[in-house]
């Protein structure tokens, strides 16, 4: 219920159009009232008894006109009502999706690591759609049916209250029946949605990982697994269907009892002469079409409300998620920086109690090239992720040009710190657009210059469509090294003051790498750069080489200093250059 209250609050912005809708609903509801009265008129004027009485003239053309007139009016207003409703629903969907998506964008990486992309998708698509159904379908049905119900009840009570009460005798059973079913339906619904989300998540994962599935010839296994999941969803769905049908059928039956009672009791009155047959027919029409009908509909709506409730719950859960990394209230933008970086006793843990970075101290002067080496899993990527502030340090601080990065605006920091991440991610557009992502207003010349520096220009030119070639999802149509070079071009285009290359050239042959290195040296003269690489030839000329091990810094120094130290670095070096060194010695 709390969810619904919040939902109503969200709806405030649409107050005007909702009012209009309600107003139109009132009109259409009123316009729907005449037909039973027409029946009454006809019955009373055309019954065998009445036909004997010549003083009763019947105006058939009037009836025809009345019916057609109300229908025209009702069609007109009904049309505008639908337009309002559609607009309301669609607009709401639009705004809600914007809100959700924009909110997701503000959340930090930690959130995305914990959520399956499929579920996030379904949040934005299915859940919001369920709300739209509630809004443009159910809510209006509720209003309309409530209006009709009250209006008709008044008419009926006024005409013959005893008969009305007879017709209403069955109402309590109606409600009991409803209550008996609804709890279970809601519960099953929830269960079903949950399972379905799970299936979607799995599905998405296996589809994006299809290469692995195929490599291991596991297609049949996957299909079997999938069957299991869908089958249980099917069973739940059938169960829900069964229960809803049950609810519905019993409700209809109860309605029938009411009608039967009405005809029986009303019939007696007519025979006694205390009521006309026409009134009975009007009653009959109103009860069937305007009393039980709406009640049935209201009952059916419950199904949708249950669904919407689950959707609301999920949507608000996402909206309530707070980014762990946030601008402090009065954060200033980071002024253009020189590029000095200071890690001051930095501690960090992804999961509580499992520190990954353990008290790192590191001073980097503006314009320096710092290289990180060290065992896989020692925390290199983590360390530079901290510099972009994807996570906040658990303890200690990171200063850029003397500014604590937690105290400046996030966007202004990230704009000045460019990164080529370890696992290249590209988008499914053209090569040009992918590179342009680094700087949206870049000119063609700038793009080409960046591509040249990343040594990918000639490859692009060789494509039949050049820069307009589409590269497939995540760049599937490119080789690993080509993807890396596009990512480098993208980062270069953004012209960062601090550039981070996290194994950005690992899939490149040394010759290509050397060419890029040369260009980088030229372009980045005076800029700070962080380079992570396992191929030591990439980093020998770094100003400072940082050797990491299990979250701490083991050694720092230039290549020669570290070799002289004869420690971890020297070990790695010898390992990698063993052959060459031997050959050289020979």
């Amino acid at each position: 219920m709390q969810n619904f209250r919040r939902f109503i609050k969200e709806l405030r912005a649409y107050g005007r159009i909702m009012l209009l809708s309600v107003f139109l609903t009132l009109i259409t509801a009123t316009l729907s009232l005449p037909p039973p009265l027409v029946v009454k008129y006809l019955t009373d004027h055309l019954s065998t008894g009445a036909l004997q009485n010549p003083s009763l003239r019947v105006n058939l053309i009037g009836i025809f006109g009345l019916l057609l007139g109300t229908a025209c009016l009702s069609a007109f207003f009904g049309y505008w009502l639908s337009v309002c409703l559609t607009y309301l629903g669609q607009r709401f969907k639009l705004d809600m999706r914007r809100k959700l998506y924009a909110h997701m964008q503000t959340l930090s990486l930690g959130f995305f690591e914990k959520s399956q992309t499929g579920k996030l998708m379904s949040n934005i698509t299915n859940d919001v759609a369920a709300l739209d159904q509630l809004l443009s379908g159910s809510l209006i049905t509720i209003v309309q049916d409530t209006v009709t119900l009250t209006a008709v009840l008044c008419i009926l009570l006024y005409q013959n209250w005893q008969l009305t009460l007879v017709a209403l005798i069955v109402y309590p059973i109606y409600i009991l029946n409803y209550l008996a079913f609804i709890g279970k339906i809601k519960f099953t619904h929830h269960e079903m949605r949950e399972q379905r989300d799970m299936m979607y998540g799995d599905l998405q994962e296996k589809l994006s990982g299809v290469q692995v599935v195929k490599s291991y010839a596991k297609e049949r296994f996957e299909v079997r697994q999938f069957i299991g999941e869908t089958r249980s969803i099917m069973d739940l769905n059938v169960r829900i269907g069964g229960m809803s049908t049950g609810l519905w059928t019993v409700a209809e039956l109860i309605g029938a009892i009411g009608t039967a009672l009405l005809l029986w009791y009303g019939g007696r009155e007519v025979i006694r002469g205390t009521m006309t047959a026409g009134s009975l027919m009007a009653f009959y029409g109103y009860i069937g079409g305007y009393l039980y009908g709406p009640t049935l509909r209201l009952i059916q709506i419950n199904d949708q409300i249950a669904r919407a409730n689950a959707a609301l719950w999920r949507i608000f859960k996402t909206l309530d998620m707070q980014p762990n990394v946030n601008d402090v209230p009065n954060a200033q933008p980071l002024p253009p920086i020189q590029g000095s970086v200071h890690y001051d006793h930095v501690w960090f843990e992804y999961e509580p109690g499992q520190p990954v970075i353990k008290g790192i101290n590191l001073e980097v002067k503006a314009g320096e090239m710092v290289a990180f080496v060290g065992q896989s899993g020692s925390g290199k990527t983590t360390l530079i992720n901290l510099l972009q502030r994807h996570y906040d340090v658990t303890d200690g601080k990171i200063l850029v040009d003397g500014h604590d990065i937690r105290e400046v605006q996030l966007a202004s920091l990230r704009q000045q710190v460019g990164v080529v991440i370890q696992e290249t991610i590209l988008f499914n557009t053209t090569l040009r657009e992918n590179i342009r992502y680094g700087k949206l207003d870049a000119t063609e010349e700038q793009i080409i210059a960046a591509a040249r520096a990343a040594n990918i220009h000639h490859v692009i030119e060789a494509q039949p469509k050049g820069y307009d070639t589409k590269i497939g999802e995540d760049g599937t149509k490119l080789s690993g090294g080509e993807k890396q070079r596009i990512a480098i071009a993208r980062a270069l285009l953004s012209d960062p003051r601090i550039l981070i290359l996290d194994e950005a050239t690992s899939s490149l042959d040394s010759e290509t790498e050397a060419l890029i290195q040369e260009a980088l040296d030229r372009l980045l003269a005076g800029r700070t750069s962080f380079v992570i690489a396992h191929r030591l030839s990439t980093i020998v000329k770094a100003d400072k080489i940082v050797v990491m091990e299990k979250g701490i810094i083991r050694e720092v120094g230039s290549h020669d200093e570290l070799l002289a130290l004869d420690g971890v670095y020297a070990g790695l070096y010898n390992q990698q250059f063993k052959v060459a060194l031997e050959e050289h010695a020979a």
Partner: protein
Amino acid sequence: MDQIGRLLGYLKPYRKQVVLAVFLLLCVTCTPIAMPLVVRYTIDDVLPHKQWNALNHVFWMIIGLYAVRGGISFALNYLLGWLGQRVVFDLRFQSYRHLNRLSLSYYDTRQTGKIMARLTGDIDTIQYMVSGGFVTFLADVFSVIVLLVVLFLMQWKLAIAAVCVIPFYVLNYKLFIRHIRPLSEKLRERWDALLGILWEKLVGITVVKAFAREEFETDNVMQTIKDNFDLAMTQMKLNRKLGAFAQVIRALGTGLVLWYGGALILKRQMQIGELLAFNGWIASLYDPAVRLVDFNVTLQWAGAAVDRVFETLDTRPEIVDAPNAISVQEMRGAVEFQDVNFGYDGEHPVLHDINLKVNPGEMIAVVGPSGAGKTTFINLIARFYDIQHGKVLIDGIDLKQIRLESIRRQIGIVSQESLLFSVPLKENIRYGRKDATDIEVLQAAKHADLHEFILNLPQGYDTKIGEDGIKLSVGQKQRMSIARATLTDPRILILDDATSALDSKTEANVQMALERLLKGRTSFVIAHRLSTIMNADRIVVIDGGRIVDVGTHSELVARPGVYQNLYNEQYKSAREHSLEALLA
């Protein structure tokens, strides 16, 4: 739309249920016909003649009628719900199975988000149509036919009055639908595009954030959503106009019947009860017609969904087993390329005239500039793509003559980009061989130098690693893939740049374990760090899609060429520095 017919074909296995459903449906449609009869009886016979007893009969008639109706309609709806779910289940299962059969080239050109949409949204839409709209539609068609018969039997003159507006209905429908249909299609396409974008940007969120592009992305997505909004509005308006006209036409019909019927009564050719019954019947006659309009919306969506699902089902996998394909049980591991030419799109060749004979147990290294075609080359061994010219032979048998599954089971591939699933570590390693014991999993992890790391995790081998292993470092992911591949004990192991994210020490540990493990097995190793591959039996140098040189490290280093250049480049700095160090 003819695809709908094909969809109905999915009902074939449930013939009995369908026949039962149709029968029940017939019974149920009789109730709206019976009720007006009761009314007529009451008004014309019971009330004017003051039959108290008959009034009691009326009471029980109604109760009985609805009790029977309730029973039948419950059974019917349950059955239909079941049928709908069942068909959808079959369809979803078939689609997924088929998607699994399709070759990689299918996935190269499509966005995962869109493929997902086939299996989720589209099939849900179909389900909605099958068990919701479609059934109503069937019931409506039945009752319209039955009603027409009844009406004409009762009072043919009045029936004509009721029916004469139907052509207007049809006309109205035809006029509008022409404009609505293309819109629906477009709407669906936009929706698909939206899913694609959303998907990609959520997966690539790291990049979005790294470039501080959150606002740009939001605007971008909003633009697509806005397009959707505009289209949906236009479509809805048209639909509603269609509905509004239908309503007026309906009133016209009712008005005509009452007018003409009234006149008939005045002429004493009919009684009021009959007219009232007629009034009830024509409601049941026009209601379905109005509903048809709504059903049309469902049908539009579902029709498009059906089309797309069948389109997927009709895509033929490019790589299928030849009819007489054989299973190779114990592969020896000899691989031979004969005049292989290959291009991804058949137009732009990537590999040219590849000839290579690999003996069982050999370790072959593949080096060459980025984009030269190394990955492509080894992907052909596992037959991820079919070649246009030439042949690949395994153990002397043409790859195309061997059952795909039997090859892939015996080849272990560690691809350039590690792909892991969001299940526990243990299950990830076990993916290639589900029946491996815990001890074997542990062994595999040890070989990949991961055991120690895993033991240090609070949950050890049961740790969940997040979507695509996001909670691991890249080097750890690579080692996971290696562990996964070794567990299957492959006859041929392919390592595509699989140790690039490992430091040399870890790499050496892994390599040592692999060497022991793969004694006598053929292996292909791609690497850019030359120290990784120096002790390969043979090194194949690929440049521009051709094999330009083959030989051992010492042979290749000795002669000028691509390899020597790469070598010099990579060791230049080392030499210089060690020289300095020597001088110092």
